[in-house]
């Protein structure tokens, strides 16, 4: 819950960033050889790993959809990813985030290209320092592309929020826990369409719209980084 911590000192955030600055970001693809596609995304100290398997046969049969494939997403936090050890296995938050992440990625995927089959996306958070769901979505999107899953566009995500009256981008752990408001946005930047939008806090309508605008700008930056990460890996391909 919210404590009395000063998050902004002379216009700079606790980690030295300016309000509209992203943390150092690194993205790598093909990091898990057994997977059909995989990626690692780091937003500052937050580390997300994603693996994609599929399209693959889907059992039991009653899960199959005649005209469309399905996407399953599992978001999971590794026990040692947080300050106080998190018991392994899904908790309510992970279950909600798995659903929300699936809905963030689905609109980008051509489900009709693999009817009756499934694409499974697994996201493991190795270290959590805020904005884990957006790091996870960025990694999952890279993994899907590398697995050859047919998509309309990549999905790029970022977090925005408000601390001490100031609008900020890319919340780290301490900001996430103590912000006046935080918002997670995912979009298909090439199409300018939102696929994930979650917010909590106390904001008036204008602040919500301003944060959305900030998110839109930064998702586009993330998009460029994602494209670069894929090209880096495949530039030596014929």
């Amino acid at each position: 819950m919210k404590k009395d911590i000063k998050l902004l000192v002379e216009g700079k955030r606790l980690d030295g960033r300016l309000p509209d600055q992203l943390r150092p970001i690194s993205m790598k693809v093909d990091v898990i050889s057994r997977a059909d596609g995989s990626a690692e995304v780091r937003l500052g100290n937050t580390i997300a790993l994603a693996s994609v398997y599929g399209p693959r046969a889907l059992y039991p049969k009653f899960l199959q959809e005649e005209e469309s494939g399905i996407v399953r997403v599992r978001y999971n936090m590794v026990p040692f990813s947080v300050d106080e050890r998190k018991s392994p296995g899904p908790d309510r938050r992970s279950i909600e985030l798995s659903k929300v992440m699936r809905l963030a990625l689905e609109p980008a995927i051509f489900l009709e290209d693999f009817p009756k089959a499934a694409v499974d996306v697994f996201v493991d958070i190795l270290q959590a320092d805020g904005s884990t769901r957006v790091a996870g979505i960025n990694a999952a999107s890279l993994a899907l592309a590398c697995a050859g899953v047919p998509m309309r566009d990549l999905v790029s995500a970022c977090s925005v929020g408000k601390i001490e009256g100031t609008l900020i981008v890319d919340l780290n752990g301490i900001e996430d826990n103590n912000s006046e408001s935080d918002m997670a946005v995912a979009m298909m930047p090439g199409r300018d369409e939102i696929t994930l939008l979650q917010m909590d806090g106390e904001l008036n309508k204008d602040e919500v719209l301003r944060l959305l605008s900030l998110a839109r700008e930064n998702c586009k930056k993330i998009y460029e980084l994602q494209k670069q990460a894929i090209r880096e890996k495949y530039k030596s391909g014929e």
Binding site: M1, V100, V208
Partner: protein
């Protein structure tokens, strides 16, 4: 069979009509029955058209969370009971039930409508406020109905007397400190139309949905996008406007 019905609903919507004749910005008939369950410290049963949700507030005593020693605790849970729909199975809450509970929790918590700091009993003891949502009939728009039931139940909840560290049921010392009335309005997009309060069939054909929690001062305390189609940025602005406008109507019903 259901696919054909859905096609019909979609056609109607595209021509500007709804299957029950409502306007796009019209709620179904809403009834709120307060205090039905006397065993609960607070309760409300909300009917939103044929959708029916019961909310019960139970208070227990427990230790505060280590990082908030001067606050009571709020826990929201939702059960999608098998009595409510042929699609609900018995067992632990699935992702939809969990998501619904967490959204309602966020709306209550972020709006600060429940003054948790007034629920401290002693240094080691605080009140734990359990808000349990029980779906009785699913005929669409469970989330708006559940949030309405939750806030109505909280507003008629009373604090039980505490003697020697134990709760004395049926004796009360006052009302639960609830100072705002946040409500949830789901705004749905179908094709180029926006509508509120989707009925069961409408829920299956909508493209996407924005669940918006609005406080009395029009502050937005929670947003959750649902549905499998994306939204444009301009859609979000329109949907927020609709949510804020409709929230006043809902709030009046809670009283």
């Amino acid at each position: 069979m259901s696919d054909l019905q859905e096609k019909y609903v979609l056609e109607l919507l595209e021509s500007g009509k709804r299957i029950d004749g409502r306007k796009f910005d019209e709620y179904r008939e809403i009834k709120i029955e307060r205090g039905l369950v006397q065993k609960a410290e607070g309760s409300a049963v909300v009917s939103l058209g044929k959708t029916k949700v019961a909310a019960g507030v139970k208070l227990e005593i427990g230790e505060p969370f280590p990082d908030t020693p001067n606050e009571g605790i709020l826990i929201v849970n939702a059960e999608f009971s098998p009595i409510a729909s042929p699609e609900f199975e018995a067992g632990p809450p699935g992702e939809d039930a969990i998501e619904l509970a967490r959204i309602v929790d966020r709306v209550i918590r972020e709006s600060k409508c429940l003054q948790l700091e007034k629920l401290v009993i002693s240094q080691q003891n605080v009140f734990i406020v359990f808000v349990d949502l029980h779906i009785i009939n699913d005929h669409g728009n469970l989330i708006d109905a559940s949030a309405l039931a939750a806030i109505a139940a909280l507003k008629n909840a009373r604090i039980p007397k505490v003697e020697n560290g134990k709760i004395v049921r049926e004796e009360f010392t006052g009302n639960l400190p609830v100072i705002f009335t946040p409500v949830v309005v789901s705004v749905c997009k179908v094709g180029n139309n926006f509508l509120i309060d989707p009925d069961l069939l409408e829920e299956n054909v909508l493209d996407s949905r924005l669940v918006v929690g609005v406080r009395d001062d029009d502050k937005i305390c929670a947003i959750q996008k649902q549905g499998s189609k994306p939204l444009k940025f301009s859609d979000v602005e329109k949907m927020l406007d609709i949510a804020i406008a409709k929230s006043k109507e809902l709030r009046r019903l809670v009283g």
